[in-house]
Amino acid sequence: MSKNLNRRDFIKTTTATTAGVATIASGITLTTFVNANESPVTDEKRWGMLIDTNKLTEADIDEMVNACQEEQGWGGETHSTGDQKPRWIKKLKVQDKTTKKITSLPLMCQHCEKPPCVDVCPTNASMKREDGIVLVDRHLCIGCRYCMMACPYDARSFAHETITDQKEHMPRGKGTVEACTMCVHRVDKGESPACAEAVDSDAVIFGDLYDANSKINQTLKKIQSSQIRADLNLNTGVRYSGI
Protein backbone atom coordinates (compact mmCIF):
# COMPACT_ATOMS: atom_id res chain seq x y z
CA MET A 1 0.00 0.00 0.00
CA SER A 2 1.20 3.41 -0.86
CA LYS A 3 1.94 5.74 1.96
CA ASN A 4 -0.23 8.27 0.20
CA LEU A 5 -3.27 6.15 0.76
CA ASN A 6 -4.63 7.52 3.98
CA ARG A 7 -6.18 5.48 6.71
CA ARG A 8 -9.76 6.37 5.91
CA ASP A 9 -9.30 5.40 2.30
CA PHE A 10 -7.79 2.17 3.43
CA ILE A 11 -10.72 1.29 5.64
CA LYS A 12 -13.14 2.32 2.95
CA THR A 13 -11.71 -0.02 0.43
CA THR A 14 -11.15 -3.10 2.50
CA THR A 15 -13.81 -4.82 0.48
CA ALA A 16 -11.77 -4.43 -2.65
CA THR A 17 -9.53 -7.40 -2.92
CA THR A 18 -6.66 -5.89 -4.79
CA ALA A 19 -5.55 -2.34 -5.11
CA GLY A 20 -3.13 -1.03 -7.65
CA VAL A 21 -1.53 2.29 -7.07
CA ALA A 22 0.23 4.10 -9.85
CA THR A 23 2.31 7.10 -9.10
CA ILE A 24 2.14 9.65 -11.89
CA ALA A 25 4.07 12.51 -10.39
CA SER A 26 5.34 13.32 -6.96
CA GLY A 27 2.46 13.89 -4.65
CA ILE A 28 -0.15 12.75 -7.16
CA THR A 29 -1.50 9.26 -7.03
CA LEU A 30 -3.99 7.51 -9.17
CA THR A 31 -5.61 4.77 -7.20
CA THR A 32 -7.41 1.99 -9.00
CA PHE A 33 -9.21 -0.94 -7.56
CA VAL A 34 -9.30 -3.89 -9.82
CA ASN A 35 -12.16 -5.81 -8.32
CA ALA A 36 -15.72 -4.65 -8.25
CA ASN A 37 -16.72 -2.75 -5.18
CA GLU A 38 -19.27 -4.57 -3.13
CA SER A 39 -20.23 -1.72 -0.85
CA PRO A 40 -22.32 1.27 -1.91
CA VAL A 41 -20.55 4.34 -3.23
CA THR A 42 -20.34 7.17 -0.74
CA ASP A 43 -20.30 10.94 -0.83
CA GLU A 44 -16.69 10.97 0.27
CA LYS A 45 -15.83 11.04 -3.39
CA ARG A 46 -17.12 13.32 -6.08
CA TRP A 47 -16.24 12.36 -9.60
CA GLY A 48 -15.54 15.18 -11.97
CA MET A 49 -13.79 16.15 -15.14
CA LEU A 50 -11.66 19.11 -16.12
CA ILE A 51 -11.58 19.97 -19.79
CA ASP A 52 -8.91 22.37 -21.02
CA THR A 53 -10.20 23.74 -24.30
CA ASN A 54 -6.87 25.39 -25.10
CA LYS A 55 -5.20 22.00 -25.23
CA LEU A 56 -8.00 20.27 -27.12
CA THR A 57 -7.98 20.19 -30.90
CA GLU A 58 -11.18 19.75 -32.85
CA ALA A 59 -9.95 16.30 -33.84
CA ASP A 60 -9.59 15.46 -30.16
CA ILE A 61 -13.21 16.40 -29.55
CA ASP A 62 -14.34 14.28 -32.48
CA GLU A 63 -12.36 11.43 -30.96
CA MET A 64 -14.13 11.94 -27.67
CA VAL A 65 -17.52 11.81 -29.37
CA ASN A 66 -16.56 8.68 -31.28
CA ALA A 67 -15.23 7.01 -28.17
CA CYS A 68 -18.51 7.71 -26.38
CA GLN A 69 -20.57 6.27 -29.23
CA GLU A 70 -18.34 3.22 -29.35
CA GLU A 71 -18.45 2.67 -25.62
CA GLN A 72 -22.13 3.32 -25.01
CA GLY A 73 -23.55 2.17 -28.31
CA TRP A 74 -25.51 5.22 -29.41
CA GLY A 75 -25.52 6.90 -32.82
CA GLY A 76 -26.57 3.91 -34.91
CA GLU A 77 -30.25 4.86 -34.90
CA THR A 78 -31.76 4.57 -38.34
CA HIS A 79 -35.14 6.27 -38.09
CA SER A 80 -34.49 9.33 -35.97
CA THR A 81 -33.75 12.45 -37.97
CA GLY A 82 -32.27 15.84 -37.17
CA ASP A 83 -32.76 16.80 -33.57
CA GLN A 84 -34.26 13.40 -32.80
CA LYS A 85 -30.85 11.72 -32.97
CA PRO A 86 -29.34 11.02 -29.58
CA ARG A 87 -26.31 13.08 -28.63
CA TRP A 88 -24.81 12.15 -25.30
CA ILE A 89 -21.79 14.29 -26.03
CA LYS A 90 -21.41 16.87 -28.76
CA LYS A 91 -18.87 19.25 -30.17
CA LEU A 92 -19.72 22.89 -29.70
CA LYS A 93 -18.10 25.90 -31.32
CA VAL A 94 -18.61 29.18 -29.54
CA GLN A 95 -17.43 32.65 -30.48
CA ASP A 96 -16.93 35.55 -28.11
CA LYS A 97 -19.19 38.36 -29.28
CA THR A 98 -16.57 41.02 -28.59
CA THR A 99 -13.18 39.50 -29.24
CA LYS A 100 -14.42 37.04 -31.87
CA LYS A 101 -12.30 34.31 -30.32
CA ILE A 102 -13.59 30.89 -31.33
CA THR A 103 -13.46 28.02 -28.85
CA SER A 104 -14.39 24.40 -29.45
CA LEU A 105 -15.52 22.27 -26.57
CA PRO A 106 -17.18 18.96 -25.85
CA LEU A 107 -20.51 19.28 -24.08
CA MET A 108 -22.23 16.50 -22.18
CA CYS A 109 -24.09 16.01 -18.92
CA GLN A 110 -22.34 18.31 -16.45
CA HIS A 111 -23.16 16.07 -13.46
CA CYS A 112 -24.41 18.93 -11.30
CA GLU A 113 -24.33 18.78 -7.55
CA LYS A 114 -27.88 20.16 -7.61
CA PRO A 115 -29.22 18.76 -10.86
CA PRO A 116 -32.45 20.37 -12.14
CA CYS A 117 -33.30 17.11 -13.93
CA VAL A 118 -33.36 15.28 -10.60
CA ASP A 119 -35.48 17.97 -8.98
CA VAL A 120 -38.16 17.89 -11.64
CA CYS A 121 -38.39 14.14 -12.30
CA PRO A 122 -41.78 12.98 -11.03
CA THR A 123 -40.77 9.34 -10.47
CA ASN A 124 -37.22 9.60 -9.10
CA ALA A 125 -35.91 8.12 -12.34
CA SER A 126 -33.49 11.02 -12.70
CA MET A 127 -31.07 10.45 -9.89
CA LYS A 128 -27.68 11.37 -8.55
CA ARG A 129 -25.39 8.79 -7.05
CA GLU A 130 -23.69 9.59 -3.78
CA ASP A 131 -20.45 10.10 -5.67
CA GLY A 132 -21.98 12.80 -7.84
CA ILE A 133 -22.74 10.90 -11.04
CA VAL A 134 -26.13 11.83 -12.47
CA LEU A 135 -28.01 8.98 -14.12
CA VAL A 136 -31.39 8.00 -15.50
CA ASP A 137 -32.92 4.96 -13.84
CA ARG A 138 -34.70 3.57 -16.87
CA HIS A 139 -36.63 1.17 -14.67
CA LEU A 140 -38.58 4.15 -13.39
CA CYS A 141 -38.51 6.45 -16.41
CA ILE A 142 -41.96 6.97 -17.91
CA GLY A 143 -40.69 9.14 -20.75
CA CYS A 144 -42.32 12.42 -19.73
CA ARG A 145 -39.24 14.42 -20.83
CA TYR A 146 -39.61 17.02 -18.09
CA CYS A 147 -35.91 16.53 -17.28
CA MET A 148 -35.07 17.51 -20.84
CA MET A 149 -37.06 20.69 -20.36
CA ALA A 150 -35.19 21.43 -17.16
CA CYS A 151 -31.61 20.68 -18.20
CA PRO A 152 -29.70 23.87 -18.96
CA TYR A 153 -27.11 21.99 -21.03
CA ASP A 154 -29.30 20.23 -23.60
CA ALA A 155 -27.52 17.13 -22.34
CA ARG A 156 -30.30 14.58 -22.50
CA SER A 157 -31.73 12.63 -25.39
CA PHE A 158 -34.98 10.76 -25.75
CA ALA A 159 -34.87 7.34 -27.39
CA HIS A 160 -37.18 8.03 -30.31
CA GLU A 161 -37.07 4.50 -31.75
CA THR A 162 -36.68 0.84 -30.87
CA ILE A 163 -33.09 0.06 -29.97
CA THR A 164 -31.55 -3.38 -30.31
CA ASP A 165 -28.09 -4.83 -29.82
CA GLN A 166 -27.32 -2.59 -26.87
CA LYS A 167 -24.01 -2.76 -25.08
CA GLU A 168 -24.17 -5.25 -22.28
CA HIS A 169 -23.33 -2.60 -19.68
CA MET A 170 -25.54 0.12 -21.18
CA PRO A 171 -29.23 -0.73 -21.45
CA ARG A 172 -31.11 1.68 -23.71
CA GLY A 173 -34.71 1.55 -24.77
CA LYS A 174 -37.39 3.31 -26.76
CA GLY A 175 -39.45 5.81 -24.86
CA THR A 176 -36.96 6.55 -22.11
CA VAL A 177 -34.48 9.37 -21.58
CA GLU A 178 -30.74 8.86 -21.73
CA ALA A 179 -27.55 10.85 -21.28
CA CYS A 180 -23.86 10.71 -20.46
CA THR A 181 -23.29 8.38 -17.50
CA MET A 182 -19.70 9.50 -16.97
CA CYS A 183 -19.07 5.87 -18.00
CA VAL A 184 -20.19 4.79 -14.56
CA HIS A 185 -19.59 1.13 -15.45
CA ARG A 186 -15.94 1.93 -16.09
CA VAL A 187 -15.59 4.25 -13.10
CA ASP A 188 -16.87 1.49 -10.81
CA LYS A 189 -14.11 -0.73 -12.18
CA GLY A 190 -11.55 1.95 -11.44
CA GLU A 191 -11.19 3.10 -15.01
CA SER A 192 -11.69 6.52 -16.59
CA PRO A 193 -14.59 7.49 -18.87
CA ALA A 194 -14.12 6.58 -22.51
CA CYS A 195 -13.98 10.20 -23.68
CA ALA A 196 -11.21 11.04 -21.24
CA GLU A 197 -9.25 7.97 -22.33
CA ALA A 198 -9.65 8.95 -25.97
CA VAL A 199 -7.53 12.07 -25.56
CA ASP A 200 -3.77 11.53 -25.43
CA SER A 201 -2.83 14.82 -23.83
CA ASP A 202 -3.88 15.93 -20.36
CA ALA A 203 -6.54 18.16 -21.88
CA VAL A 204 -9.17 16.05 -20.18
CA ILE A 205 -8.57 15.09 -16.57
CA PHE A 206 -10.93 12.76 -14.78
CA GLY A 207 -10.84 12.16 -11.06
CA ASP A 208 -12.15 12.71 -7.57
CA LEU A 209 -12.76 16.42 -7.03
CA TYR A 210 -12.60 16.02 -3.25
CA ASP A 211 -9.34 14.11 -3.07
CA ALA A 212 -6.60 16.66 -2.35
CA ASN A 213 -4.07 14.30 -3.89
CA SER A 214 -5.89 13.80 -7.15
CA LYS A 215 -4.63 15.40 -10.30
CA ILE A 216 -7.95 17.07 -11.01
CA ASN A 217 -8.10 18.61 -7.55
CA GLN A 218 -4.55 19.89 -7.74
CA THR A 219 -4.94 21.26 -11.25
CA LEU A 220 -8.17 23.02 -10.35
CA LYS A 221 -6.36 24.71 -7.48
CA LYS A 222 -3.70 26.02 -9.82
CA ILE A 223 -5.47 27.13 -12.95
CA GLN A 224 -8.42 29.32 -13.86
CA SER A 225 -11.48 27.24 -14.58
CA SER A 226 -15.18 27.82 -15.04
CA GLN A 227 -18.53 26.10 -14.99
CA ILE A 228 -21.05 26.54 -17.78
CA ARG A 229 -24.04 28.55 -16.54
CA ALA A 230 -22.30 29.07 -13.21
CA ASP A 231 -25.01 31.68 -12.50
CA LEU A 232 -27.47 28.86 -11.88
CA ASN A 233 -25.37 27.72 -8.95
CA LEU A 234 -25.64 24.05 -9.87
CA ASN A 235 -22.01 23.32 -9.01
CA THR A 236 -21.21 21.13 -11.95
CA GLY A 237 -18.87 18.17 -11.83
CA VAL A 238 -17.55 18.94 -15.30
CA ARG A 239 -15.32 22.01 -15.34
CA TYR A 240 -13.76 23.86 -18.22
CA SER A 241 -10.72 26.02 -18.59
CA GLY A 242 -10.13 28.22 -21.60
CA ILE A 243 -13.67 29.40 -22.15
Binding site: A36, N37, E38, S39, P40, V41, M127, R129, E130, D131, L135, D137, R138, H139, I163, T164, D165, Q166, K167, E168, H169, P171, R172, G173, K174, G175, T176, V184, H185, D188, K189
Partner: protein
Amino acid sequence: MSRLLVVFISLLIGSISVHADSHINIGDRAQELKDEGKSKDIHPDLREIRIMHPEFLQHKRDETLRQGVRTKRNSLKACVNCHSAADTNDEYVPIDQHGQFCSTCHQKVGTSVDCFSCHRTTPKEDL
Protein backbone atom coordinates in the same frame (compact mmCIF):
# COMPACT_ATOMS: atom_id res chain seq x y z
CA MET B 1 -45.48 -2.39 -4.38
CA SER B 2 -48.91 -3.71 -5.26
CA ARG B 3 -47.66 -4.42 -8.75
CA LEU B 4 -44.92 -6.52 -7.27
CA LEU B 5 -47.49 -8.38 -5.27
CA VAL B 6 -49.52 -9.08 -8.38
CA VAL B 7 -46.45 -10.32 -10.18
CA PHE B 8 -45.47 -12.36 -7.19
CA ILE B 9 -48.85 -13.99 -6.75
CA SER B 10 -49.29 -14.71 -10.42
CA LEU B 11 -45.84 -16.25 -10.54
CA LEU B 12 -46.66 -18.24 -7.44
CA ILE B 13 -49.80 -19.59 -9.03
CA GLY B 14 -48.02 -20.04 -12.32
CA SER B 15 -45.18 -21.87 -10.71
CA ILE B 16 -47.54 -24.58 -9.58
CA SER B 17 -48.06 -25.60 -13.16
CA VAL B 18 -44.62 -24.58 -14.34
CA HIS B 19 -42.93 -26.48 -11.59
CA ALA B 20 -44.03 -29.75 -13.05
CA ASP B 21 -42.39 -29.08 -16.40
CA SER B 22 -38.73 -29.17 -17.02
CA HIS B 23 -37.48 -26.49 -19.34
CA ILE B 24 -37.08 -27.57 -22.90
CA ASN B 25 -34.60 -24.82 -23.60
CA ILE B 26 -32.55 -23.71 -20.63
CA GLY B 27 -29.79 -22.16 -22.67
CA ASP B 28 -26.46 -23.48 -23.95
CA ARG B 29 -24.16 -22.67 -21.09
CA ALA B 30 -26.77 -23.62 -18.51
CA GLN B 31 -27.24 -26.99 -20.22
CA GLU B 32 -23.50 -27.59 -20.10
CA LEU B 33 -23.38 -26.77 -16.41
CA LYS B 34 -26.35 -28.98 -15.77
CA ASP B 35 -24.76 -31.86 -17.66
CA GLU B 36 -21.61 -31.38 -15.63
CA GLY B 37 -23.77 -31.45 -12.52
CA LYS B 38 -22.75 -27.94 -11.49
CA SER B 39 -26.12 -26.25 -11.75
CA LYS B 40 -26.74 -26.83 -8.05
CA ASP B 41 -23.75 -24.58 -7.28
CA ILE B 42 -25.48 -21.69 -8.98
CA HIS B 43 -29.10 -22.28 -8.06
CA PRO B 44 -29.11 -24.46 -4.95
CA ASP B 45 -32.87 -24.22 -4.70
CA LEU B 46 -34.64 -24.27 -8.03
CA ARG B 47 -37.96 -23.43 -6.45
CA GLU B 48 -36.53 -20.32 -4.87
CA ILE B 49 -35.10 -18.94 -8.07
CA ARG B 50 -38.25 -19.70 -9.98
CA ILE B 51 -40.43 -17.86 -7.54
CA MET B 52 -38.11 -15.17 -6.30
CA HIS B 53 -36.14 -14.12 -9.36
CA PRO B 54 -38.16 -10.92 -9.94
CA GLU B 55 -37.34 -9.77 -6.41
CA PHE B 56 -33.70 -10.75 -6.74
CA LEU B 57 -33.39 -8.87 -9.99
CA GLN B 58 -35.19 -5.82 -8.71
CA HIS B 59 -33.12 -5.65 -5.56
CA LYS B 60 -29.94 -6.07 -7.53
CA ARG B 61 -30.94 -3.49 -10.13
CA ASP B 62 -31.47 -0.79 -7.52
CA GLU B 63 -28.24 -1.62 -5.73
CA THR B 64 -26.23 -1.61 -8.93
CA LEU B 65 -27.68 1.41 -10.58
CA ARG B 66 -28.21 3.63 -7.60
CA GLN B 67 -25.40 2.57 -5.31
CA GLY B 68 -22.78 1.20 -7.64
CA VAL B 69 -22.69 -2.23 -6.04
CA ARG B 70 -21.54 -4.50 -8.81
CA THR B 71 -21.50 -8.17 -7.95
CA LYS B 72 -22.03 -11.18 -10.17
CA ARG B 73 -24.76 -12.57 -7.97
CA ASN B 74 -28.29 -11.93 -9.24
CA SER B 75 -26.93 -10.03 -12.20
CA LEU B 76 -29.15 -9.99 -15.26
CA LYS B 77 -26.06 -10.17 -17.47
CA ALA B 78 -25.15 -13.46 -15.82
CA CYS B 79 -28.66 -14.82 -16.38
CA VAL B 80 -28.49 -13.96 -20.07
CA ASN B 81 -24.97 -15.34 -20.45
CA CYS B 82 -25.93 -18.82 -19.25
CA HIS B 83 -29.51 -19.10 -20.40
CA SER B 84 -29.12 -17.94 -24.00
CA ALA B 85 -29.18 -20.50 -26.76
CA ALA B 86 -27.51 -20.32 -30.14
CA ASP B 87 -29.32 -21.21 -33.33
CA THR B 88 -28.05 -23.45 -36.13
CA ASN B 89 -25.91 -20.62 -37.52
CA ASP B 90 -24.15 -20.43 -34.18
CA GLU B 91 -25.71 -17.07 -33.45
CA TYR B 92 -27.43 -16.32 -30.20
CA VAL B 93 -31.20 -15.97 -30.27
CA PRO B 94 -32.57 -13.09 -28.20
CA ILE B 95 -33.60 -14.56 -24.87
CA ASP B 96 -37.00 -12.90 -24.92
CA GLN B 97 -38.00 -14.48 -28.23
CA HIS B 98 -40.58 -17.21 -28.52
CA GLY B 99 -39.30 -20.56 -27.31
CA GLN B 100 -36.32 -19.10 -25.48
CA PHE B 101 -35.62 -19.39 -21.79
CA CYS B 102 -37.38 -16.31 -20.44
CA SER B 103 -40.36 -16.28 -22.73
CA THR B 104 -41.25 -19.96 -22.33
CA CYS B 105 -42.39 -19.49 -18.74
CA HIS B 106 -43.50 -15.92 -19.01
CA GLN B 107 -45.83 -16.69 -21.88
CA LYS B 108 -47.22 -19.63 -19.98
CA VAL B 109 -48.07 -17.59 -16.91
CA GLY B 110 -49.07 -14.56 -18.92
CA THR B 111 -46.67 -12.02 -17.49
CA SER B 112 -44.68 -9.68 -19.66
CA VAL B 113 -40.93 -9.29 -19.34
CA ASP B 114 -40.00 -5.64 -19.30
CA CYS B 115 -36.25 -6.19 -18.83
CA PHE B 116 -35.48 -6.47 -22.51
CA SER B 117 -37.10 -3.31 -23.71
CA CYS B 118 -33.76 -1.83 -22.64
CA HIS B 119 -31.35 -4.63 -21.71
CA ARG B 120 -29.30 -6.56 -24.22
CA THR B 121 -30.99 -9.85 -25.12
CA THR B 122 -27.91 -11.90 -26.03
CA PRO B 123 -24.56 -12.52 -24.34
CA LYS B 124 -21.76 -10.09 -25.04
CA GLU B 125 -20.16 -10.52 -28.48
CA ASP B 126 -16.81 -11.84 -27.22
CA LEU B 127 -18.18 -14.35 -24.75
